[in-house]
Symmetry: C2
Subunit: 357 residues, 2 copies
């Protein structure tokens, strides 16, 4: 429970001391750079510095925290700093942060001088169990999430439980949504354990299991031609809600909160179109509402949400494509959903009885 093999790279658990030092010192790299955001500079960089014996032969690049930084402007900023620091092709970029840092840093590295090596040290639960594994890099344009990016694998991923101690509870819950998703799409017994565990303090074992599930799926289908699409369960509607909220709310939804609402809508669609039993649907709805509460979706937003979904990367030929559950623990890809069906699922969500978040 200390290492998993992914697509040509290792994922290490709680062993940054040995393995990160070996990695940097093995002689492959002329230089290294660490990318952080303002929060991970404070909360995570000291830990890494200490593990690296306080060496200071690297340059630091810091971005603002939050999804607002996952833009081409910040990417250009990183490129220019790498240029100013004279980064060459054998430089290494270490992305130390949540999914924003790993997605943006991965994209910047994969295109700098046509690609330099990078590694991820994910510091949020979400990035540990999801964003750092699988080689998707990306930035947003005009709030279209990840519309630009590459498939480029990191050279290693280091998952350290220690970072979760400073992570706000809301961020832990955000990552938990992806863990719950992993159970729903691939492993009913994992779901059964998860749903009754302490969701604000995930154990090493639960994190490890989530990474195993995510890794298995992406290793089978690195460039998302088929099976990998099961990871999109909850994300067609979830991403639309996330974009919408980012544009309209002063305190926007986290990724996980948006995906949790998306999973409820798509559980409804799963019941409607993919045979998900009513009891399973109810169990999913109760669990997710219990953890995440309810986001107020007004009828007036349906058109806007639908317009966002129309721009979803996963669509083909103008058709909106969902991954839906056939039962808890099993997911089917490529379900075309009509605008009416999608709208009905939003109405279903809006009709649920629960105190608003």
């Amino acid at each position: 429970m200390n290492q998993i093999q992914s697509i040509n790279y290792p994922i290490y658990f709680n062993s940054v001391t040995t393995h990160l030092n070996n990695f940097i010192n093995e002689g492959k790299y002329s230089r290294f750079f660490i990318l952080t955001d303002e929060h991970t500079s404070t909360h995570c960089l000291p830990y890494i510095r200490e593990k690296l014996n306080n060496r200071d032969d690297f340059d630091l690049i810091e971005i603002n925290a939050g999804e607002e930084s996952k833009t081409i402007d910040f990417c250009i900023g990183i490129w220019k700093m790498l240029i100013d620091f004279d980064a060459d092709r054998s430089s290494l970029l270490i992305n130390l942060g949540g999914g924003v840092v790993t997605d943006l840093g991965g994209f910047a590295a994969s295109t700098f001088k046509r690609g330099i090596d990078f590694i991820h040290i994910p510091t949020t639960l979400l990035s540990q169990v999801d964003a750092s594994v699988g080689g998707k890099t990306g930035i947003d344009i005009d709030n279209l999430k990840n519309i630009i990016g590459t498939f480029t694998q990191p050279k290693a991923v280091f998952i350290e439980h220690a970072f979760l101690s400073t992570l706000p509870a809301r961020q832990v819950k955000s990552g938990m949504a992806e863990m719950l998703k992993h159970g729903l799409i691939a492993d009913a017994s994992y779901w059964n354990v998860l749903k009754i565990s302490d969701l604000e303090n995930p154990t090493d074992q639960l994190i490890y299991q989530s990474v195993v599930i995510k890794n298995k799926v992406v290793t089978e289908d690195p460039s998302e031609r088929g099976i990998r699409k099961i990871l999109n369960f909850g994300h067609t509607i979830g991403h639309a809600l996330e974009s919408y909220s980012l544009d309209n709310d002063s305190n926007p939804l986290t990724h996980g909160e948006a995906i949790a609402a998306g999973m409820i809508c798509e559980a409804y669609l799963s019941h409607l179109k993919a045979g998900l039993p009513a009891g399973d649907m109810q169990e999913i709805v109760d669990t997710l509402l219990g953890v995440y509460g309810k986001y107020p979706i007004h009828e007036s937003c349906y058109t806007a949400l639908n317009a966002i979904m129309k721009k979803d990367k996963k669509n083909q030929g103008g058709k909106i494509n969902c991954s839906l559950l056939t039962k808890i623990g099993e997911c089917r890809i490529d379900n075309i959903c009509t605008d009416d069906e999608l709208c009905d699922s939003l109405k279903y969500y809006a009709s649920l009885q629960y105190a608003q978040v």
Copy 2:
């Protein structure tokens, strides 16, 4: 002499009618888009339209002509137009133009929705014998050439001699510099034929031979770890001159003109450091000056040029790396050159007796 196989894709010669239609119609693509610049819209698009039986089920994206367009701003413009046109992952981008269009279009496509397919229809001699083959995509930042990019292969390349009829003579000569380079680095007998042929009207046969040489090298080493670097002969100094000229001259050097001057300097370095016989060096200098004339490099620019070379992508650990000739037809990679040596080669160039361009 009608098709060559490259890294998983075909290069077709003068057979756009059959093969482009087959390609588009084979059913793989939901939509296609054509990227042009203002000149290729006028001179090349009508030809392609006609070959496509005047179908109009595609959208056109046009950029300004010239290297000034090979920027992240124009790239963002292309991304946004693809978004506006609702391009999905099974869209195809057809890059119809010179190296600016193929480099920029290739980069935009390789990162849009983490990569959509693209093909190149190169319309300058330079892009036919060089830029369109080998999978390098790229954009410039602050006049640092191709500092951002990916290695992504097109799905096909279509080389049509017809386009050369409208190409200004200066542009033909620009492409010819790469053909001469191909002879110098890999094929002495090709060089011997080339140097006495009509360099303003290259035959189909000569173009074909150049593509064969370029293609052989890139197929052996797609991501430029070794042998592919021979293609950089003339380019360490040539790129610096090109950047410098773009910044300082009202009528900047073409790529080929810059590379021709770079090849003279690097022939000097080849003689100094790699055993290129004096007679070979003289033959190269005479031929290139005869075709391209001489660019005035003043002593005051040496420092600026050196600073640009220091930012060259090909450097490792701060050392400037050149590919040098051991004799005509043979090239050796990874020659570290000192600042003094590079400066001497510029002085050598400056000392040559020839009427200024």
